[in-house]
């Protein structure tokens, strides 16, 4: 286990779940806390000046009482990709300085939803009942898809499930290199392992406890060899001085490692954040220069760089990618139709347009089989 878990909070109602027992077996050194102790710990965490430090070493095993599959929240006024989120838990043991999750959780512990029986039945029901043609489902929105997989072993089971599905694909999104258990499964092209990537400098300084870029790419190569579809997310792109060379280098390394035909999509998003993040990150890590760049309030209320600057950044990145993979399916995360037109020459006027654009990447592996 790469990430240190010092405490496990077990909710009474999931004490007998098979996954609870499995996780506890793998964490012999962790303190298991009961209900009263958990309340004390909650209070202590609320008093902590940086609850994240404690929270990232605390794992709560709990039950998801709501729906497991939900649409991606997206953001108003910008084009969203129509991804659906499969909630396997929330919180992340890595500690990216730019991470948006820092704003959202008052009690920033790691949570795993151990009622996986409900998860699979909910998922099955969703895929049968929902009349939509094809579903792109991702586990990496409120957590990293693989960070806690050495404990849960869930990714392999999900890959098995989706390998048999005819109307859905699973996107496993990660900054780790924990892909090896997945190599036991033949995904039939229906599972995409997506690696969030960034420049080496940003990875080293800002993505605390995440795998180095080289390890992520080596994991991508192993997954590709086993028949997994691969994706890359350049998000957030952070234009610090020298960013052009830094990102070019990573793009080149991607195409040296992975065959372009194995890549389902490459997404890009220039750093944007809810304004509160700037102060929260400063309180935790000290002032981070890039948060002080010329951010203005975007149409969705988030701080964004000026549109002209974003366009220039995207154009640069797209040019570098196209030089290595002319046909790469590139998409912009939460951008306007104007930016799409300027950067990619594509009319992307609605969420449905982008949904179709990305669905076409997985169709050959679902109904098309």
């Amino acid at each position: 286990m790469k990430f240190p878990i010092e405490q496990v909070w077990v909710d009474d109602e999931v004490r007998d779940e098979p996954l609870t027992r499995e996780i506890l077996r793998k964490l012999p050194a962790a303190r298991i806390l009961g209900k009263n102790e958990i309340e004390d710990q909650c209070r202590a965490m609320e008093m902590d000046r940086d609850p994240f430090n404690r929270g990232k070493r605390t794992l709560r095993l709990t039950k998801n009482k709501g729906a497991f599959v939900k649409p991606c929240p997206g953001t108003p006024e910008y084009i969203c990709c129509g991804l659906e989120i499969l909630n396997i838990g929330q919180g992340c043991p890595m500690d990216c300085r730019y991470c948006a999750l820092q704003v959202y959780f008052n009690r920033p512990i790691l949570e795993v939803f151990v009622n996986t029986g409900d998860l699979f039945s909910d998922l099955e029901r969703h895929l049968i009942n929902d009349p939509r043609g094809v579903h792109r489902i991702c586990t990496g929105e409120f957590t990293d898809s693989l960070a806690l997989d050495p404990l849960t072993g869930l990714a392999g089971k999900l890959a098995e499930f989706f390998s048999r599905s005819t109307n859905a694909s699973l996107e496993i999104k990660t900054k780790t290199d924990f892909v090896d258990p997945l190599l036991e499964v033949d995904p039939h092209g229906r599972v995409v392992i997506a690696f969030s990537v960034n420049s080496r400098e940003i990875t080293r300084k800002d993505e605390i406890r995440a795998a180095p870029v080289a390890k992520r790419l080596a994991a991508a190569a192993r997954a590709e060899k086993r028949g997994y579809r691969i994706a890359f997310h350049f998000d957030p792109i952070i234009p610090v001085p020298g960013w052009e060379e830094a990102y070019s280098s990573v793009i080149n390394e991607i195409f040296t490692t992975v065959d372009p035909s194995s890549i389902s999509w490459i997404s890009m998003g220039v750093l944007r954040f809810v304004p509160a993040l700037k102060e929260i990150a400063a309180a935790r890590f000290g002032r981070i220069p890039y948060f002080h760049d010329g951010f203005i309030r975007g149409l969705d209320g988030k701080s964004r760089l000026h549109v002209d600057r974003r366009i220039n950044i995207y154009k640069y990145m797209i040019d570098k990618i196209r030089r290595r993979a002319r046909e790469a399916r590139i998409y912009l995360c939460m951008e306007s139709p104007h930016v799409w037109r300027e950067c990619l020459g594509i009319s992307m006027d609605s969420d449905d347009d982008l949904t179709s654009y990305l669905d076409s990447a997985i169709l050959p592996y679902t109904y098309g089989l």
């Binding site: 609320e46 008093m47 000046r49 609850p51 008052n106 102060e279 929260i280 309180a283 002032r287 220069p289 890039y290 002080h292 760049d293 010329g294 203005i296 309030r297 975007g298 149409l299 000026h306 549109v307 002209d308 600057r309 306007s336 139709p337 104007h338």
Partner: protein, 316 residues
Amino acid sequence: MNWLNHSTPMIVDPRSVDLEDRTYLIPCYSNLSALTKSIQRIGILNSPLVQQLADGRMIPVAGRRRLQSTVALGLDHIHVRLLPEAVPIAEGFALAFWDNAAHRVFDIACTAVVIRRVFELFPRDVAARDFLPILGIALKGPRLERLRAIGGLESSLLEAFSHGRIHEKTAALLCEMEAETRLGLLDLTEKLRLNANKKAEIISWLFDLSVLEATPISELLAREEAKSIIFECDGTVPERAERFRELIRSWKFPELIARENEFRDWVRGQSLLEKMSVQPTTSFEDPGCVIEIRTDSTDEAERIVSAVKQHARPNQ
């Protein structure tokens, strides 16, 4: 223990009390004149509480403003109660706190000073249990730490904060600067007669630029373009203030300012009618525009709408 029962009455010259001492300070940034007039008319009803230290110095515990008023009135002897030297500072501070909390509402600047002192004198759990609920500040979230930092600012900044001349977020940013820098910024922005919102903009932009470029704010302000506005004798203060704001804004948002200038020139070239204006989308996020035409009547509006429809039809 009720420490008032253990204090002793005595008469002192108020000028002998060190009113600058901050040991038990619960500040109040409102004007003293009403209190001074009240003391002049009816005297002091409740004696201030003071403590004599081992070195002989006498410091205020409760009733600092009453003491300040008596000094202002030129009184040379007043009744006080003397708290024994052995009373621990935390106990004395709690006494001052509860004395104040009982009869006044703390403004946010005062709250910041009190929070800072409470966390210096008491463990976190005691602060959370005994003081924060009275102050109305939640233990979790970033605000507590922000106020705690603000509580350490210089009196002139705290006074500006108390009177609403700077916002809480501005005060928090100023905490991250050197004392000389922040006092200089307050002085500069007050001389330019900027309101709290404009101060907030300018100070946050300068702070951002300073962090991004790893350059002290004093160096940014020493640039020729800035100096020429700051030290200029021509022009009214509001004009200079606006030019100064625009300058800092152009450093912070160069692309936006370039687009604004370009757009302004374009609009000028359109020779628009008097009742007409064209606005870009927010921050030029897309190339669209909003055309606004004011009319004197619905009939006129109808004619214009009809003409626009005629014009738009071929492109449909």
